[in-house]
């Protein structure tokens, strides 16, 4: 299996580390594999006989990848089996991931991605393109990090109709809200704490305004429920207006507040909701969770780590192994 890695940020490096460290173990599932190219936004390196990934990681940490080849050149000119597309998400236009994925699928090459942008912008188009070219697009890592969602529904719950989903898809918000619940302190204060701990970005808009959760919800709704939803279809309210008093009065009545992403046949919505304290969605810290309502299996509930470099790598590796079992 010849692999290229497009995007070498936290996720790309996480995958690379797992591919190095677990090589012996992963060979049981993937067979012989080699990474023949790694690129990021400013450079790229390739070797058709397989790169020494340790050296590539070292280069990246010591000032960046050499400028041997660009992402587009890798995709157009090299011969490979799977592209791991892990460039940053842009929910407006899906780029640069959208172009990368399109080009791979056109060549009939399988793609495994953690990038939400392309799937939010052009889910149906990409799925159709993959089908037409007998390629596969795997995207477990786009939603819920290590928490199994896509393959859980597609494989383990195969034959079920997914009627609705609701859950917690953003660990940063969940951290902030669970801290507000425990400490009854203002939002701004807890947000600062989350920034210091590296749980929230310096510009937290993407998380706290529900954009990240909304993007994931669009992907889940499209993939699991067969919808053709776009990001603009998501009714979206963030968490920045929540007050300690809101938590206080909610708690007095047996509730807490969590940012809930919900999709059914009528609407897609991300908004703070009152959650009974004994409900499985009343989870704490940076965890993610999803309740899937099916027509045969009833309700299925998953919970797990929604972000993190190794956790996201776990989802990508599981997609790779799934591809391997489907292909060869």
């Amino acid at each position: 299996m010849n692999i290229v890695i497009i995007g070498f940020g936290s996720v790309g490096r996480g995958v690379t580390r797992v591919l190095i460290e677990k090589k012996k173990f992963l060979r049981n599932f993937l067979g012989d594999y080699k990474v023949i190219a790694v690129t990021d936004s400013s450079g790229g390196i390739y070797d058709e006989n397989g790169l020494d990934l340790r050296k590539v990681l070292e280069m990246k940490s010591k000032g960046g990848l050499p400028k041997e080849i660009t992402s587009i050149e890798v995709i157009r000119d090299l011969d490979f089996d799977v592209c791991i597309e892990v460039t940053p998400t842009n929910v407006e236009n899906g780029e640069p991931g959208l172009t990368h994925i399109r080009e791979c699928l056109k060549k009939g090459v399988d793609v495994v991605t953690s990038n939400k942008g392309p799937l939010v912008v052009a889910f149906r188009e990409l799925m159709n393109l993959a089908k037409k070219n007998n390629a596969r697009l795997m995207f477990e890592a786009t939603v819920g990090g290590a928490m199994p969602v896509i393959k859980l529904a597609k494989i383990d719950l195969a034959g079920n109709e997914i009627l609705s989903v609701r859950g917690i898809l953003n660990g940063t918000c969940n951290y902030i809200l669970s801290r507000m619940e425990k400490e009854l302190l203002p939002y701004e204060l807890i947000l600062e704490e989350a920034k210091e701990l590296g749980i929230a970005e310096r510009d937290p808009t993407y998380d706290v305004e529900g954009i990240d959760a909304g993007a994931k919800l669009v992907i889940i709704a499209n993939a699991l429920m067969g919808l053709d939803a776009k990001f603009k279809d998501v009714e979206r309210v963030g968490i920045s207006n929540l007050t300690p008093e809101a938590f206080k009065v909610a708690l007095e009545n047996g509730y807490t507040i969590r940012l809930i992403a919900e999709a059914n046949r009528d609407f897609l919505r991300v908004s703070p909701r009152l959650v009974p304290l004994n409900h499985p969605l009343a989870i704490y810290g940076t965890l993610n969770a999803l309740e899937i309502e099916t027509n045969l299996a009833g309700n299925v509930f998953v919970i797990g780590k929604g972000a993190g470099s190794v956790e996201t790598a776990s989802a990508i590796i599981s997609d790779l192994i799934c591809l391997k079992s489907l292909r060869y």
Binding site: R166, V237, N241, L242, T243, P244, E245, A246, K248, V249, A250, E252, N253, Y255, I257, I260, S271, P272, R273, L274, V275, P276, H279, L281
Partner: protein, 164 residues
């Protein structure tokens, strides 16, 4: 039709129950159940009888009058609201934007009402939080009343936090 439950006190002798049933029948009421509470017999030896029925709302006063005119003691009667409730939070300038008006909009629907409310105001000019319990005659109407509330709050810049 309104669901009504009443408790009447009947003397323990033949021909008493008919005095209650006859007016119900004549006013078009539909009896659901009749329970004699013999274990709750009153010191004067009368037996409380609980009657559940459905009757046109406009005929309730007349019914009670007719029963009492026959010398029967009507201990109590209540309209049954098959209520479903839900709780929600409102965050924003709840008071400044005329809370009365917000609550009235729900109450005047006739099928839903605000049955409980707690308001916390942290400081002057800071957003306050209201915990509201809504009650309606059925799930569908409850949903409709939440829709009305959301619409009003949207126009007033108040955030509504719905339950799951």
């Amino acid at each position: 039709m309104t669901d009504l439950t009443m408790v009447v006190e009947l003397e323990d002798k033949p021909g008493q129950l008919i005095k209650v049933l006859e007016p119900i029948s004549r006013l078009g009421g539909n009896i659901i159940s009749i329970t004699h509470r013999r274990d709750e017999i009153t010191p004067l030896g009368r037996i409380p009888v609980r009657i559940a029925l459905q009757i046109d709302e406009s005929k309730i006063d007349k019914l009670i009058e007719e029963i009492e005119r026959r010398g029967i003691i009507v201990r109590s009667y209540n309209r049954v609201r098959h209520a479903v409730t839900l709780s929600l939070l409102l965050i924003g300038h709840v008071i400044h934007t005329d809370l009365r008006d917000t609550v009235d909009a729900i109450d005047k629907t006739g099928f839903a009402e605000v049955v409980e409310m707690k308001i916390i105001m942290p400081e002057l000019n800071k957003p306050s939080t209201a915990f509201i319990k809504l009650s309606a005659i059925n799930e569908e109407k409850l949903k409709e009343s939440v829709g009305i509330l959301k619409e009003i709050c949207k126009s007033k810049g108040i955030e509504v936090i719905e339950p799951l």
